[in-house]
Amino acid sequence: MTTSNTGAVAPGVTVPEELSNNVMITNIAKLLDPAYNWARRNSIWPMVFGLACCAIEMICTASSRYDLARFGMEVFRATPRQSDLMIISGTVTKKMVPTIVRLYNQMPEPRYVLSMGACASGGGPFKEGYNVVDGIDKFLPVDVYVPGCPPTPQALINGLIALQEKIDQQSIATAPWYRKDDPTAGLVPIPVLGPDLVDLRQLDTIKREAAKAMAEQKQMEEETAVSPKPPDTQSYEIDKDKQ
């Protein structure tokens, strides 16, 4: 008796020896996940979404020498509605991040995010810049991080294989995107541009800090009878004692 590689022995079923290579015995619950994952992992369509330098290496990866088609990923889609994977290929700036989050929300589930390179993963060399978001994971759930500045095509392929392995582990029964109770569960609130980038999930913190700053300012004014010009912005300098 032969059993398939996907399930345990099915009691009472006999397979003739000559058919053992062609017959798979399993049950629907055990078959569904591997079949479903197998189909999805081999047809991950990334979005045409070049942000910065890493995009050039992303193009190289898709081109003939590295040949992303071997993984079923060569079909780069220009619209988020047809994409499964968003490769964040470059520095995420504050001006751009509302667009990125909006595009992510527009992608159909299941959707994956691959953070390519140092900038997308944590700000990279530009981390301290006033217009730079220090890592896309401040806003989007990232599935795979690929290090490098920029990552070589080999590194990106390695990251994509890691994503495939992650997909292999998923199950329809537990995947968050099939939850029916909360249809907006996967959506990320789109940040807005005010005097600086405003993450709407942080509104309470912002209000609290503003109140604190106001109080400090008032205290300052009381302390110095001749009030100096109020500081233009809050500046967060290093507390030298901390070092």
């Binding site: 045409v48 979404f49 070049g50 942000l51 910065a52 330098c53 050039i56 190289c60 081109s63 003939s64 220009a78 470059g90 520095t91 700036t93 504050k94 001006k95 751009m96 667009t99 900038c119 700000g123 060399p125 530009f126 981390k127 301290e128 810049g129 006033y130 217009n131 730079v132 978001v133 220090d134 500045c149 920029p150 070589t152 807005v192 541009l193 005010g194 005097p195 600086d196 980038l197 993450d199 942080q202 509104l203 913190t205 912002i206 209000k207 503003a210 700053a213 106001m214 300012q217 500081p231 233009d232 912005t233 809050q234 500046s235 967060y236 300098e237 290093i238 507390d239 901390k242 070092q243």
Partner: protein, 609 residues
């Protein structure tokens, strides 16, 4: 050493020529005896012009003295003097040579300078940038809005007293990280844990977020009906956004297009989606620490960017570059140009609808060049290769198992010519290419100079100007090459300029290879490689190179014995070339916008910096 420092741009041209810069400067002083004076600061070489005389001086320079090309507008914050400064670099297209530099200083609290857009339309985006980042108001500018940050952004970030949210210290490396070792993460110092800060007392209400009102007020609000004369049919203009996520925009670039039917009435580029604060970060970095950042400007030609920056700082330091290093520099820079143009042409054809095929034809040859760079510098793209006074590494012994010289010879004598010829056969006389690109996006000679275009854009409009010939750097004077010039100024001519430049770059590389063989084993850097570099003298320097995209300039000023630049400004060719995009697209169809943009060959890392 000090001699070299005093020899900043403006006085650097050889004595043997009748120096046009000195002639122009003395003529200006004669005409404006009270107003125009030499810059009194140590190490500065330009002229100081009062703000109210600027337009007259600029007109005199442009019309009477032949300095008709405004290359760069730089804002500088002189916080110690309580002043803001605008620095203008003007060149003569016909005579070549170095720049006449104008410094205009205004009070920091009331910084108003007359706009030079009426004189040089190419000042448009550069003045907007100076307004955005430094808060200099340009009086008479037609559209003075923020350009790299967004409407509603708080403050002017390049002012010295504007501190970033993740501000740690004035210079790198930070004391908190090195050498004491006490690592503090910037997130821990910022109350939001993110790279944000808000003005004191600002409380979000949720109403103030529509920051694009001004944008549309200029482009789209004018929704007047226009009447088609022939059919008496009322048509409505519509505003369409292309980008920032659009497959044709070569990155995160956005165009707000006003359409009448399918015809473009007006087009406004919107940029800053990749503004990563190159200049602010550069003013905190050490001189050496800036080199890897320059790689990330025009990321299709990193080594070329290195060279521009290194040339500027070498003027401050007075370095002498050994012979072998100069040859290696030219070799790498020209190979970069080839790699860039191969893809620029590939992208252009992509935009024309030949999706990926031409790019893939050139792909293997570009990969071979990248293989060489990887063996030479350790990185395929971000090479970080130039050093002050030389280069970082000597040529490798072998590349992918093949001896280096053999590899290079095969590349430049066989592989590349074959690939270029193949591309030429496929594309140059292709009917679709010709139909889509001839007569599209025309820029006349006069316009291209006025708009401060650079590189292939300029040369396709009949202007014979190339920094390698006009103000030769490195060993370009000793090399035999031509500057391809075409005269129609359309997309097709830009394509042909790039095709011909490929041939000329190959010609240069072929001349360089014997020199590399002859100088084998010679030093590649001036003295010992040093890390703690300090400027011996105060002063300014402007280094410029002919990048594949056009003239790339670096304006660097420093104090005496300083380890980082005081002001660090990049004259980015892609950014300034975009000034004319709206003009070129007017009257064309939507599909042509994509092609015209492709023919400029922009790289967003450089546009937004």
């Amino acid at each position: 050493m000090s001699e070299a420092i005093l020899e900043a741009p403006g006085s650097g041209a050889p004595e043997t020529l009748a120096n046009p810069v000195e002639q122009a400067i003395s003529a200006l002083k004669e005409r404006f005896p009270e107003a125009v004076v030499d810059d009194p600061r140590d190490g500065y070489s330009g002229l100081v012009v009062p703000a109210d005389k600027l337009t007259e001086v600029a007109l005199a320079l442009r019309d009477d003295l032949g300095f008709d090309y405004l290359s760069s507008v730089t804002g500088v914050d002189l916080i110690e003097d309580g002043k803001l400064e605008a620095v203008y670099h003007t060149y003569s297209i016909d005579k070549g040579g170095s720049a006449v530099v104008l410094h205009v200083q205004v009070d920091r609290d009331n910084p108003v300078i007359p706009s030079l857009v009426p004189v040089w339309p190419g000042a448009d985006f550069q003045e907007r940038e100076a307004w955005d980042l430094l808060g200099i108001q340009f009086d008479g500018h037609p559209d003075l809005r923020r350009i790299l940050t967004w409407d509603g952004f708080h403050g002017h970030p390049l002012r010295k007293d504007w501190k970033e949210p993740f501000y740690e210290e004035d210079t790198k490396p930070f004391g908190s990280r090195w050498p004491a070792g006490g690592v503090l993460r910037a997130e821990e110092l910022n109350p939001y844990g993110q790279n944000v800060q808000y003005p004191a007392g600002w409380v979000p209400t949720g109403d103030e977020y529509d920051v694009e009102t001004e944008m549309y007020a200029i482009t789209g609000a004018d929704l007047a009906y226009s009447i088609d004369a022939s059919q008496q049919m009322k048509t409505d203009k519509i505003t369409v956004n292309l980008g920032p996520q659009h497959p044709s925009t070569h990155g995160v670039f956005r165009m707000v297009v006003q359409l009448d039917g399918e015809t473009v009435v007006d087009l406004k580029p919107v940029m800053g989606y990749l503004h990563r604060n190159h200049e602010k970060i550069g003013e905190r970095n050490t001189f050496l620490g800036n080199i890897p950042y320059t790689d990330r400007l025009d990321y299709l030609s990193p080594i070329s960017n290195n060279l521009g920056y290194v040339l500027a700082v070498e003027k401050l330091l007075g370095s002498v570059v050994p012979e072998r290093a100069e040859w290696i520099r030219i070799l790498t820079v020209e190979l970069t140009r080839i790699a860039n143009h191969l893809w620029a042409i590939g992208f252009l054809l992509n935009d024309l609808g030949a999706l990926q095929t031409p790019m893939l034809y050139f792909y293997i040859e570009r990969e071979l060049i990248l293989d060489f760079f990887e063996a030479l510098t350790g990185a395929r793209m971000m090479n970080n290769y130039m050093r002050f006074g030389g280069v970082a590494y000597d040529l490798p012994d072998e590349i992918r198992g093949q001896a280096t010289m053999e590899f290079l010879n095969e590349l430049v004598h066989e592989r590349l010519p074959r690939a270029i010829e193949q591309g030429d056969n496929l594309m140059t006389h292709n009917e679709i290419v010709r139909a889509r690109s001839i007569g599209v996006g025309v820029l006349t000679r006069k316009e291209s100079i006025a708009y401060s275009m650079a590189g292939p854009m300029l040369r396709a409009s009949g202007v014979n100007y190339d920094v390698r010939k006009a103000e030769p750097y490195s060993y370009y004077e000793q090399l035999d090459f031509d500057i391809p010039v075409y005269y129609n100024g359309d997309v097709y001519d830009r394509y042909k300029v790039r095709m011909d430049e490929l041939q000329q770059s190959l010609r240069i590389v072929r001349q360089v290879l014997p020199h590399l063989q002859a100088t084998e084993g010679a030093p590649i850097i001036d003295g010992k490689p040093s890390y703690a570099i300090r400027t011996p003298q105060p002063g300014e320097a402007y280094g410029r190179v002919e990048n594949p995209k056009g003239e790339l300039g670096f304006y660097v000023t420093a104090k005496r014995r300083s380890s980082s630049p005081e002001r660090y400004h990049v004259r980015a060719p892609s950014f300034i070339n975009l000034t004319s995009l709206g003009k070129m697209c007017q009257g064309h169809k939507v599909a042509d916008i994509v092609v015209i943009l492709g023919s400029i060959d922009i790289v967003l890392g450089e546009v937004d910096r």
